[in-house]
Every structure is written in structure tokens, then in C-alpha cells.
């Protein structure tokens, strides 16, 4: 939702594109709740609307809303809007969610490109308080970190300030220190904070209602196109729709489904187009049996894991 639209063409983030395709494949299974094309999709399209393009084309969803913070760039967003069915709304997601929320099954992708903060958590909490059974929440945050120990301390204190609300309870998981933010640690801590928030708010929602909601985590992606990113997500359902949730069988065959704190790493192999075509002709196949000249077996394993969603970019002269 923030301004990274200018920095990089979203289409050219290969890991992100893989993530989008995987998610889209998982969304297909929502049809046990209702026809996927009749879901509502809310996202942060930016100038590129990459998620909107994929979701509209592959799932047929037509009720689509894109939130944009930078209202002063309205003209450019409108120009880039890829489909008539995508509605643009300008403002902060905290306000837009309230005013644009409808009581229907929704896929909400809070696709921030900033680190986790209290405002993100406010959106998460809104979803958990209001989502209809069968709705899906995705949260993407920047999980970049520092390597120098001194800077890490500074980073940790900023992280704490960003995440904690003035008079709200402590959100940093008990026992976390600056060291825990190193490497993929920021992603891990952010994941924990998001899930804690979800559990707390869903728990509160269940205090009086007889519906009894459960939020089930399905996604925990980590990848690094430029910066380290984390996407956490899952589905909320009421006790009486548990059977529908069961019928979706998210974990069956979808190897990227993650229901716990261990993330699914989208780790890109470095291959030439020629190598890709050569490998594709042998797939699907156990990675150990793949034959390719001079390619490190580790790269082969990476590719075998991702090949179905692997994007192909080429420079085209027009």
C-alpha cells in the first residue's frame, strides 16, 4: 500500500510472483464454502495490480477492491487499473476497511511493503473481528534486518516502538532480544506477533457468540527478491462450517501449506531458459533422478519444488 510501486515492477519480483500463483492455487479450494468467483477480493494493487490480474484471470473473481494510500497519484492508479471490475479506494487501510467492509466471504491481502507495525495489526484485528466464516486473511510485511550487532539493538528498539500500542499490552513475544531479529529472525518474530494478535482477537470474538470461530494458519512464506519478506495467512471459519473447511483439504498435495512457525522458503534456483526447458521436459520426477549437465543438485531440488509456478521473464523488443 505504501509507495514501493515506483521502486520496482511487481511483475519482476519472481519469488513474489511464485507466492501469488501458489496462493491462487490454494484459493481454488475455497469452493467448498462457495464458488470462488463469488468471493470478494481486497488488496493493495499498487500501479501494477499483479495480484488483481492473476486473481481475476485465474479465479474469475469480479468483486475486487484495491486500497491506495497515495491519493495524490490517483490519476496514475486509475490509468493503470487493469479491469473494469476493480474498484479503487484512496486512503489508509485502517479507515478503508471500515467503510468498504461487506458481510460476505472475502479474501483480504494486507500486502504492506513496510515492516510490521501497530497499524498493520489494527487491520489484522479488524479482519478477525468482522470476517465471515470462510474468509481468508493474508499479511505481507517487510522482514529486513541488520547484520551489525550495534545496529541490531537500534533496530530492535525501533521494532518494539512500531509494534507496541501506547497503552496496549506488550506484543513482543516473551524472551525476545535483539539477537532474535538477525537473519530470518525478524520474519519469525513478526509471524509470532501476527498470530498472537489473531488468536487474541478471535478468542475475544468467541467470548459471547455461539458461533465459535477458529483461525487456521495455512501460509507462512518467506522469500527475498530484494528485501526479506514474510507472508502469513490463513482462513477463519465458524464451528458449524468446520466440515466445509475439512473438505477444502488445503494440506493435501499443496506442499507450500504451512500451519506452524516453520516457514515455507521460496528459494529461487539460478538457471538459464535452456536449462529450464530441459528440466521441464523431465518433470514431474523425483529431483534425484533429474538429469542436467553441470547443475548443482541443490539447484535441481529447488527447481523441482517450484517449477509449476516458476515465472518466465524475457525481454521483448516491441
Amino acid at each position: 500500500m505504501a509507495g514501493s510501486g515506483d521502486k520496482i515492477d511487481y511483475n519482476l519480483r519472481p519469488a513474489k510472483q511464485i507466492e501469488r500463483k501458489m496462493l491462487s492455487e490454494a484459493f481454488r479450494r475455497l469452493s467448498f464454502f462457495q464458488a470462488v468467483e463469488s468471493y470478494r477480493y481486497i488488496g493493495f494493487g499498487s500501479f501494477y495490480f499483479a495480484d488483481f490480474k492473476l486473481i481475476h484471470k485465474s479465479l474469475g473473481i469480479t468483486d475486487m477492491v484495491s486500497f491506495e494510500l497515495e491519493s495524490w497519484k490517483r490519476k496514475r492508479f486509475e490509468f493503470n487499473n487493469p479491469f473494469r471490475c476493480v474498484k479503487l479506494r484512496f486512503g489508509h487501510s485502517n479507515d478503508l476497511l471500515k467503510t468498504n467492509w461487506q458481510n460476505r466471504r472475502t479474501i483480504l491481502w494486507l500486502d504492506y511493503d513496510s515492516p510490521l507495525d501497530k497499524l498493520c495489526l489494527r487491520d489484522v484485528s479488524f479482519f478477525c473481528n468482522n470476517a465471515v466464516s470462510g474468509s481468508v486473511l493474508l499479511v505481507t510485511v517487510d522482514a529486513q534486518t541488520e547484520s551489525e550487532p550495534a545496529k541490531l539493538e537500534q533496530r530492535f528498539s525501533e521494532f518494539k516502538d512500531n509494534v507496541n500500542d501506547d497503552d496496549e499490552r506488550e506484543r513482543i513475544p516473551f524472551g525476545t532480544t535483539a539477537k532474535n531479529l538477525a537473519g530470518w529472525g525478524t520474519a519469525k518474530v513478526s509471524h509470532k506477533i501476527i498470530m498472537n494478535e489473531i488468536d487474541r482477537v478471535v478468542g475475544e470474538r468467541n467470548l459471547l457468540t455461539e458461533e465459535n470461530f477458529t483461525f487456521r494458519q495455512l501460509f507462512n512464506f518467506c522469500y527475498s527478491d530484494t528485501a526479506r519478506m514474510l507472508t502469513v495467512g490463513g482462513i477463519i471459519y465458524s464451528a458449524n462450517e468446520y466440515d466445509k473447511y475439512r473438505a477444502c483439504h488445503f494440506a493435501r498435495d499443496l506442499k507450500f501449506i504451512r500451519t506452524g512457525s516453520e516457514p515455507y522458503m521460496i528459494d529461487l534456483p539460478r538457471l538459464t531458459f535452456r536449462e529450464i526447458r530441459h528440466l521441464d521436459s523431465q518433470l514431474p520426477m523425483s529431483p534425484s533422478k533429474l538429469r542436467a549437465k553441470g547443475i548443482n543438485p541443490r539447484e535441481l531440488r529447488k527447481y523441482a519444488k517450484l517449477y509449476r509456478w516458476f515465472p518466465s521473464f524475457a525481454e521483448v523488443e516491441m
Binding site: 473481528n129 500500542d165 496496549e168 475475544e204 467470548l207 459471547l208 457468540t209
Partner: protein, 461 residues
């Protein structure tokens, strides 16, 4: 079974060397009972028992014909009601016990009762004085208990153990038809604690007690129960909310089942007069007894973020009125404390209610904020709207007459467009600014500022 058998085997005459005495003393009990309750609340506790009597007979219907009369003089406190009385069986087994045993047969319990913990009557008596008489008549029994608390405190049996019983003053009538005109209970406390006697006989105390009784038992008084203090009727002050075509209070019902027992919750949130200024806030009732009155603290969600974010209470919310009614057959499931002055905020039931209170209350707060923002403007449509309702009695509607279930309705908020630009101001040496004037080919320093910003934004933004 084995433990029971063992117990019976024990010969009480032989002291067991492994036995450690942990029995409470009467003094501790008396002290801890009276310390944490204000005088007015202790007295209201006695009234609760009378109201329970009326409720046992008529449920939640009309209470016409029932009365509770309180008389306070400098050497005597007296409360008398005609609400059905207390049977000898209840008096003998339960009413004078400290705490209600959990195995009390349900036929003896009042459904939806206010009395719950079995401490109210004793606590009030101990708080007030050192001698008491309880006289009660039901349709087939009659008794009198007359005790001196100081004498009881030191009373021991032959073996030197504390005597924990009181005694009926004979004759006790049981299973004999009584005069239907005499049904009811009368409690008299004498040998008043000097400080208490002094306090109770001030006009300010009587006024406060009357006001607290009016609030605590507003609903029962509304049903026709006659309540008098020293001969003066406790005023009927039913709660009202503003209702008009443009402003409608929120109302929502919930039901929660705990251990197969249903708990009903009804929440109202809306606006009313801005005066008295202390009247703004939440009113929480358990089985129709007011527990929190105009609460403006975190206990009722102010400054909290469960379900919705509520601001801390602020004078601009003086018109806010929220009402919460928790009702249950079994009073033990309700989240009140033993003094009925507060709520068990850790209970899931109350947390759940608080979440819904915040969700229903938040739109009212938004409206009151809009109203407040209008203060310094020329056109004040919201002010004229609420001020008109202040004077229009037809817009003041009893809670029981609020029929519509739904969220708070108020005039649609006018969208105030936030400016999407800001001023930037800074100083730089003239010489350096002149260099950039040349570079950008402009003449004004402000243009240098704009150009440099655009330049950097183009490259880095």
C-alpha cells in the same frame, strides 16, 4: 468413602497431635466482612433481600402492593418489608450461615435472585451495630432471632470451641397458617456503632442513600415496589435515551450458555442529556440490580481496545449513556463481586460483554466527537439537533420502550477531506541558496525549496 469412615472413627475427646488448628475466628470474620463495603452499599444489600422476596412471588412482573420501608434514627436502624418473609427452614439452615452452601436445594433459591453469596444480611448487621432482631413471617411459619453480637463473639461450648450458631427466641411457629396481612421480614439493629450512627443521621447521607437506592433498584421501583426512607418515597428515576427519526440508540441481545444455564445480555448505547455531568458512562446491572453507575473507567472499556477502540472518557462524552443488563437464573454465574459494587473483569462472560459494549458504543463516540468538533463552527446542525431533543419530552424514551434492535443511528458523517499537502519550512545560508537559484534558474528562495524537493524526489522518491 474411606475418608468419611475415618472421620467418623475419630474420637473427638482425644486431641490428634498431627492436627493443626486453622479455624477462623469470629472477630476476623466480622472484620473482613465489614471492612470492604461502604455503608450505603451494606444497607442496599438488605434491600436486595426484600426485592428477592418480591421477585420470588411475582417474577419480573408488577410489584404493586409490596413495600420496603427503612427507618434510621440515632439509636436504631430498621428495615421492614411485606415481601413474603423468610421461612423457618431457610433461617435455620441457610439465612444465618456465613456464605451460601453450594448444595442448597434449588426449591429454596430464588430464580434470578440478587442475593447470592449469603453474606449480605450478616454483613449489614455487623456494619451497623452490635445487637439485632430479625423477625419474619411466611404464610406458614414465624420466628424471631434476637442476638447480641459481642456476646455471640465470645460464646463457646463446653469444650471451649467457638459456637457458630444463633438461637431462635421461642415460640417458633412452623407449619401453622399465619395472618396473610403480616407476611414479611423486619430487621432491627440497635447498639449502633457510634461512627455509623453519626454518619447515618446526616442529611447528606440520607440523600446519598436515597439516590443510590433509586439507582440500584430503579427497575424494581419501576415495577411498582414502594420504597421509603424515613417515610420519604425513594424517587422513581427510570433510565431514558434519546430517540428520534435521526437519532436511535443501539440495542442488541446476546445469549450465552454456561454449564447448560442461559445467561441473557441486553446492551443499549445512545445519547441523553449532558447534565448532570457525572451521569455519562456505562450502567451495568446484574439481575436488575445496578452494579456500576455511570462508569467512566477501563472496567467498562474506556481507553481499551477489545472489539473496538474506545477512547478514555472525556467530558465531551457527557451525553453518552450505555446500559448493560446481565440476567441469569443462577446468580453465581454473573460477574459481580460479593459487595455488588464491582465486576469480575476477568470473567469471560464480562469480557465478551465488554467487547460488544465497545462495538455498540464506538459509533456513539464518533457522533459525540463530531458534535464536539462543531463547537467552533458557524453552522451547527448537530448541536441544534441534540439541543432540540433536550427540550422535547417525546424524544426521551424509556429503555423498555426502545424496540428497535440494531446499531446506533445518527446523521451521516460529513466527510472532511484531509489536506493532502504540507508546508515545509527551513533556513539555509543565503550564499548557498543563491548558488541554487542560479542552478535552477529561479529568483525566489521559496522556488529553490520547491525545486530542490522535486529534484530529490525525482531521483529518490
Amino acid at each position: 468413602m474411606t475418608t468419611k469412615a475415618k472421620k467418623n472413627d475419630k474420637n473427638p475427646a482425644l486431641p490428634d497431635p498431627n492436627r493443626i488448628d486453622a479455624a477462623p475466628t469470629k472477630e476476623l470474620l466480622i472484620q473482613s466482612l465489614v471492612k470492604d463495603i461502604p455503608l450505603t452499599r451494606a444497607i442496599i444489600d438488605l434491600v436486595d433481600n426484600s426485592v428477592d422476596g418480591a421477585r420470588a412471588i411475582r417474577g419480573k412482573k408488577n410489584y404493586k402492593g409490596f413495600f420496603v420501608h427503612l427507618r434510621i434514627t440515632k439509636d436504631r436502624f430498621e428495615i421492614e418489608d411485606n415481601c413474603g418473609g423468610m421461612s423457618v427452614e431457610i433461617a435455620r439452615e441457610y439465612a444465618f450461615r456465613f456464605g451460601r452452601p453450594s448444595d442448597m436445594p434449588s426449591r429454596l433459591q430464588t430464580s434470578h435472585s440478587v442475593g447470592q453469596f449469603g453474606v449480605g444480611m450478616k454483613r449489614a448487621i455487623f456494619k451497623l451495630g452490635r445487637a439485632f432482631t430479625v423477625e419474619s413471617t411466611t404464610n406458614n411459619s414465624h420466628f424471631i432471632v434476637n442476638e447480641d453480637v459481642d456476646a455471640w463473639k465470645v460464646r463457646k461450648d463446653a469444650e471451649g470451641h467457638d459456637v457458630w450458631s444463633f438461637a431462635f427466641t421461642p415460640p417458633v411457629a412452623e407449619g401453622e397458617k399465619q395472618d396473610p396481612k403480616k407476611l414479611g421480614t423486619k430487621i432491627t439493629v440497635t447498639r449502633l456503632i457510634p461512627d455509623v450512627a453519626k454518619e447515618m443521621n446526616t442529611d447528606s447521607f440520607l440523600t446519598e442513600l436515597s439516590s443510590e437506592l433509586a439507582a440500584a433498584h430503579e427497575l424494581s421501583i419501576g415495577r411498582g415496589l414502594e420504597m421509603k426512607l424515613n417515610g420519604v418515597a425513594i424517587p422513581k428515576e427510570p433510565s431514558k435515551l434519546f430517540v428520534s427519526t435521526k437519532v436511535q440508540p443501539a440495542k442488541k441481545r446476546f445469549q450465552k450458555t454456561v454449564n447448560k444455564t442461559k445467561i441473557d445480555i441486553v446492551i443499549y448505547a445512545g445519547i441523553y442529556r449532558s447534565r448532570p455531568s457525572k451521569a455519562g458512562g456505562w450502567y451495568v446491572y446484574c439481575n436488575d440490580r445496578l452494579i456500576l453507575r455511570a462508569d467512566q473507567s477501563a472496567i467498562t472499556g474506556w481507553g481499551e481496545k477489545i472489539g473496538e477502540r474506545m477512547p478514555k472518557f472525556h467530558p465531551q462524552f457527557a451525553r453518552f449513556r450505555g446500559y448493560v443488563f446481565l440476567d441469569c437464573d443462577n446468580p453465581a454465574l454473573l460477574p459481580w463481586n460479593t459487595t455488588k459494587t464491582g465486576l469480575d473483569t476477568d470473567s469471560d462472560l464480562y469480557k465478551g460483554a465488554k467487547r460488544e459494549m465497545n462495538i455498540l458504543g464506538r459509533p456513539v463516540i464518533d457522533f459525540l466527537n463530531d458534535l464536539d468538533r462543531e463547537k467552533n463552527r458557524v453552522s451547527k446542525p448537530l448541536h441544534s439537533l441534540v439541543e432540540k431533543m433536550d427540550d422535547d419530552e417525546d424524544a426521551h424514551v424509556l429503555l423498555t420502550d426502545v424496540k428497535r434492535v440494531g446499531a446506533f443511528v445518527s446523521p451521516a458523517r460529513k466527510k472532511v477531506e484531509k489536506p493532502d499537502s504540507v508546508d515545509i519550512k527551513y533556513k539555509r545560508p543565503i550564499q548557498e541558496v543563491n548558488v541554487l537559484k542560479k542552478f535552477f534558474a529561479v529568483s525566489k528562495a521559496s522556488e529553490v525549496g520547491e525545486k530542490t524537493f522535486d529534484y530529490v524526489y525525482e531521483l529518490e522518491g
